[in-house]
Symmetry: C2
C-alpha cells in the first residue's frame, strides 16, 4: 500500500528551497471577505518564480539527485507550468533538461520553457503517450524522469506552500480552519494538506473532476470523457496512487467549479486583488466566490496557484465576466 507523504518530508523540502524559491505573500481583500463572510487569506503562488507553484516541487526533486548523476540531466512531461519549473530548476542546478509538451500547449508556456534553456519535444495529446515518450528519451540518456505529481519529492516541494502559509498566519496570531487548493493531478493539494495540516478541499474544473470523484468513493476514478477547458494547467486524466493516498489520509474532499465561475474568479483577481491569475490557478478562488461551500465565520486559506495566461485568454475572461 502506498504511504502518504509526511510532514518531515515537507520540512526537509522547505530547507532545500529556502533562498531559492520565493516565500510568496499572503494577500487579503475587504471585498472578498465581504462576499464570503469569511476571513480569507490568499497564497499568491502566481508570484512564485516561473509564475506558478511548480518550481517548488521541481527544485526539491532535482536537488535530491546526486551531484555525480546530474550530468545526464532530466526529462519531464508537462502541459506547461511543471515544464517551466523543471527547466528553471535544472538551469539553476546546472543540469540539461528536456521537456515533452503537448503540441497544443499555450505558446507562452512553450516560449518560457525554452527561455529557461530547456529542449522541448512535442507530442499529440490525443494519440501519443507522453509517459512513454519521456521514458524512452530518459532511458537513452540515463536521465531522470521528473513526473508532475506522482513523486514524493515533488509533492513534498509543493507542500512547502502550505507550510509557509500556516507559519506566516501563525506569526500574525491567525489559525486557518480550512484550505481551498487548485487541483489537477493532486500534487499541490496533497502536498498542501501535509504541509499545512489543514482540512483541504481540492478544487477542479467541471468535466475534470477525477479527484473529486475518487475521494468521494474509495478508488481512483479517471476522467473518461475529457472536454475542452480554459484551465489548461489542470487537464489531468488520472491522479496517482501517491496523491490519492496522501489526500485520503488527510481527509481531503473535492469540489467542482464551472468554466463561467473560473472566468469570474480571473476577473475578480484582476479587479479586486490586482493579481494576474491563470484560469487553472483561479479555481480555488472560484470556489470561494461561487458560494456553494459555506465559509461564513471561518478563516480560510485559498491558493492562487499560477499566473501564466496568454493575453487573449485573459482578456476573454474579463470580457465574459463583465
Amino acid at each position: 500500500m502506498t504511504s502518504s507523504v509526511t510532514h518531515d518530508e515537507v520540512v526537509a523540502a522547505a530547507g532545500r528551497i529556502a533562498g531559492v524559491a520565493v516565500r510568496t505573500p499572503l494577500v487579503r481583500s475587504d471585498a472578498l471577505d465581504a462576499l464570503t463572510g469569511a476571513r480569507v487569506w490568499l497564497k499568491a503562488e502566481n508570484l512564485q518564480r516561473t509564475g506558478s507553484f511548480k518550481f517548488r516541487g521541481a527544485y526539491n526533486r532535482l536537488s535530491a539527485i546526486a551531484a555525480d548523476q546530474r550530468g545526464a540531466g532530466v526529462v519531464a512531461f508537462s502541459s506547461g507550468n511543471h515544464a517551466q519549473g523543471v527547466a528553471l530548476a535544472a538551469r539553476l542546478l546546472g543540469m540539461p533538461a528536456t521537456i515533452v509538451m503537448p503540441s497544443d500547449a499555450p505558446s507562452i508556456k512553450v516560449e518560457r520553457t525554452r527561455g529557461h534553456g530547456a529542449e522541448v519535444v512535442f507530442y499529440d495529446r490525443l494519440t501519443e503517450d507522453r509517459d512513454a515518450i519521456a521514458t524512452a528519451i530518459a532511458a537513452g540518456r540515463g536521465a531522470v524522469v521528473v513526473p508532475p505529481f506522482n513523486d514524493r519529492h515533488v509533492i513534498a516541494g509543493q507542500g512547502t506552500a502550505g507550510l509557509e502559509a500556516v507559519s506566516d498566519l501563525a506569526a500574525m496570531g491567525v489559525a486557518a480552519d480550512l484550505a481551498l487548493v487548485c487541483c489537477g493531478g493532486g500534487g499541490l493539494a496533497s502536498g498542501f494538506a501535509v504541509g499545512s495540516q489543514l482540512p483541504v478541499t481540492a478544487v477542479e474544473p467541471q468535466n475534470w473532476d477525477d479527484v473529486t470523484r475518487s475521494l468521494a468513493g474509495d478508488a481512483i476514478v479517471p476522467v473518461t470523457d475529457p472536454q475542452p477547458t480554459r484551465c489548461d494547467a489542470l487537464q489531468t486524466l488520472r491522479m496517482s496512487e501517491l496523491t490519492f493516498a496522501t489526500l485520503r489520509s488527510h481527509g481531503a474532499v473535492g469540489h467542482v467549479v464551472s468554466e463561467a465561475e473560473v472566468a469570474r474568479a480571473v476577473a475578480f483577481a484582476f479587479r479586486e486583488l490586482k493579481l494576474v491569475v491563470e484560469p487553472g490557478g483561479s479555481v480555488a478562488l472560484a470556489a470561494a466566490l461561487a458560494g456553494r461551500i459555506d465559509l461564513a465565520g471561518k478563516t480560510v486559506l485559498v491558493v492562487l496557484s499560477g499566473g501564466n495566461v496568454e493575453a487573449g485568454v485573459f482578456a476573454a475572461c474579463l470580457a465574459e465576466a463583465g
Copy 2:
C-alpha cells in the same frame, strides 16, 4: 520659505498606519534584472488597500483630525485613487466623505469611491476649478479639505512606502542605490525621498512633465498644454511648493516616458510579474525598461504605485505592446 517634510514626520505616519495599511511586498523578477543589468526590487503598492499608495497619505491625514472635529467630515478632489484612499480612510475612522471628481474619471474609480460610502460630486476638468468647488463644500459644512499632495500629513503618509521598502531591504542585507517613483503632483515621490533617504528619480508621462522641468530649473513650471494620456492618475498641472521644496532638498530629478513605453510596462507586469498595474502606476517600471537611465550594476527600488485600471484599457495596453 516652505520647509521639506521630515523623516520624523514619516516615522510618525508609519506608526499611525501600522496594522491598517498593507505592508506591501517587495517583488523581483529574473527577467527584469536581465533586461536592466540591475538588481531591481519592486514595491507593489498596487496591492495596497484601495489599489494604490494613496490610502497611506489619506489615512495619515484623517487620523490627525481631532476626534471632536471628525463629525463634520472631509472633502477631497481627485481623479480617482486619492478619492478611494480618502473614502476608505473616512469609513474606517467613522467620518463622512465627499469627493469632487472630474466627470471623465474612469468609471471603476467612481464606483469604488461610492462603494466605500463616499458622496461623489462631479466637475468639468476643462471649465471648472475643483479646488474652489471643494473649498466651498467644505466651508458650508465645517469639513476638512484633504488635498492630494499639497499637505505635510499626506506626503508623510506616502513616504511610509519608502520607509518600509528600505527597512525590508535592510532585513535582507540589501541597500538600494536609487529609487524610481511614479509622479503626478509629487506627493509619493517627495514622501518616498524622505522616507527612503535615497536619490529619487520622479517619473512622469510625456506632456505632463511639470515636475521634471521644475526640478531641472529653479522654480515650479506648470503644464500649459495638457494632452490626452492613458496615465489618468498622473494628470496634475502643477506641483506644490511643498512637493517642490521636499524633492529639491533631497536632490531628486525628473524623467519622462512615452505612452508606448507605458503600455509596454503594463504588459511586462502582466506577463512577467503577474501583477495588474494601471498605466499611471507603471511609469517608474517603464523608465527602468526603456533603458535611458543607466541602471547597470545598481540596486534599484521601483514603485508600482497603483492597479486601478479598466479592463478595456488594460487589454488595449497588452494588445499594443504585442
